[in-house]
């Protein structure tokens, strides 16, 4: 059998990349990680992902796979241990739906709440609250979105557990409060403290300075416009 070669191009700060790390670690897959400087992308990354030129990018035996949710499904289909998608077709459809909802709705509204100011920020925040409520409802009677075990929805929205407290610290404001989101708050703690996840998170102080810089950049862009 040919030797398996798995490379993951990611960045230190982007949660999209870390979700792939978590999937690989949960499945016990050996891989080489390349942390890209997004301001100065490597020729290798640009060659493997010419269309989007983005991370994360998984390269398996020289075959590149781009787009984090596509990568998660590929990883799940290629390495069968610790399945992250359920077996039942309707449950699979639901998992895909909520993973996509996380990226399409939750993430942009939280990011908007962090980067925008004034009325725009208020509007983004209201949107975020509505989106988070949908996620809260999905946790009724469950420890993880995946049930008893971490599943692909947990991996897709797992960034909430570690990144949101960082954004909250910078903003000086709560985004996910215990009173409004009791189930989500417990899930955030359970997920971030899960042994494999806890051991695979970017350093907090560095994330604080990175995201402070992002916020500054977006605020100054807003002034220019």
């Amino acid at each position: 059998m040919a030797r398996e070669e798995v490379k993951l191009f990611k960045s230190l700060s982007s949660p999209y990349g870390w979700r792939v790390v978590w999937a690989l670690k949960l499945k016990g897959i050996e891989y080489e990680v390349i942390d890209e400087d997004l301001a100065n992308k490597s020729p290798q990354l640009l060659q493997y992902n010419p269309i989007h030129k983005k991370i994360p990018l998984l390269v398996h035996n020289d075959n590149p796979i781009a787009e984090s949710l596509v990568i998660l499904e590929y990883v799940d289909e290629t390495w069968k241990q610790y399945p992250i998608l359920p077996q039942d077709p309707h449950e699979r459809a639901a998992a895909r739906f909520w993973a996509k909802f996380g990226d399409a709705k939750v993430l942009p509204s939280i990011w908007g709440s962090f980067t925008k100011q004034g009325k725009e920020q208020e509007e983004m925040f209201e949107e975020a609250m509505g989106n988070l409520k949908c996620l809260e409802e999905q946790l009724v009677g469950k420890k993880f979105f995946g049930g008893e075990k971490i599943g692909c929805v947990d991996l897709a929205v797992g960034w909430l557990g570690y990144w949101v407290p960082i954004l909250e610290e910078i903003l000086g404001m709560k985004l996910i409060g215990k009173e409004k989101f009791p189930l989500l708050s417990v899930w955030m703690e359970n997920f971030s403290n899960f042994p494999i996840i806890k051991d695979n998170l970017p350093p907090r102080e560095e994330m604080i300075s990175t995201y402070k810089a992002y916020q500054k950049k977006y605020h100054s862009l807003a002034v220019k416009n």
Partner: protein
Amino acid sequence: MATSNNVKILGSFASPFVMRARIAANLKSVGYEFLEEKFGQKSQLLLQSNPVYKKIPVLIHGDKPVCESLIIVQYIDEAWSSGPSIMPSDPYDRATARFWATYVDDKWFPSLSGIARAQGEEAKAALIQQVRDGIALLEEAFPKCSKGKAFFGGDEIGYLDIAFGCFLGWLKACEMMNGIKLIDDATTPHLAKWAEKFCSHCAVKDVMPSTDKLLEFAKVLAAKFKAAQS
């Protein structure tokens, strides 16, 4: 094909996203009841079964709804596993098909749908170019995906054929409305051949509306857009 009360598809004749669900059901010989939404109104059933997005298509199997067209296509493939496979069998081919389908939805379709609403000729031309660029990428991807066969999925229509092919009716309408060619033998020979085969496929031809019907519908959409703007 018997109509099954067990499967319903909520949609509209003109929506390419709804078409995806219907093509997938047809490929698997799954009978369904097609519930056409009234234009400009959302039915109680739609609001109930898709409370998050309130959008079509929705597939209702028994009493369980499935939302989002690409998710519906995969659901149909997995729930009726005895028919021909819609997804490729190899994980890497599956990832490639998913990658391109995501590209079509997230990057390419917004340019196509923006053309009719573009403010000014320059803006329109820019969007048309974006649509062309995307088509060029898919033209290039076709031989790699099809491996010399008729469709992206090989001998038979597959996931990416459905994801992209559903727009062929609207592409033709766009060509006519703007006096341009987007898919033709000269610039996109693979896609030109593929488009003909796709549109005439038995699973597609009854759910792909005629260009005339779409042009008529486009007028209705334009009027609605204009009214919303004033």
